[in-house]
Symmetry: C2
Subunit: 85 residues, 2 copies
């Protein structure tokens, strides 16, 4: 793996795994009142667009990172709808 | 602008501007209790790494999007520390 791909992989790991503590927090507290619903709707659409961009440019880190982020983000969105009231 | 750059720009706009409703929400409610501090710390580090990746690959959408996201994310982090208790 060259250094550019390595940095892209580190970046992808961080922006993807960052959603894990948020998921755990909502699970523990059963509260998502302070989270913005619009943030996660717009963010999910953006991540889906990054995924298309990654496919079109052939960038493996962008594809891998955004696939996983989309799943995490979708799950937080689901929990926001469930616990956000 | 070719179609690949256009999709990257749309993606960048969405993942960047998605933080705006979250910022506005914290401003209005003065509450960030449900937000995960670790999420925004790890996310900010990831965005900084994407910025380096964008510079190294010469990708204008990645550079532009992550510059602005870093500022927004840093500001939410600041407000989380201020209002998160």
């Amino acid at each position: 793996m060259d250094s550019v791909t390595f940095i892209g992989t580190v970046a992808g790991f961080c922006t993807t795994l960052s959603f894990l503590p948020q998921m755990i927090k909502i699970h523990r507290t059963k509260s998502a009142h302070d989270l913005s619903l619009f943030m996660f709707i717009i963010f999910a659409f953006g991540v889906a667009s990054w995924l298309v961009y990654g496919v079109l440019t052939g960038s493996t880190p962008i594809i891998a990172a955004n696939c996983v982020t989309l799943v995490f983000c979708g799950y937080i969105l689901f929990m926001k709808v469930k616990y956000g009231k």
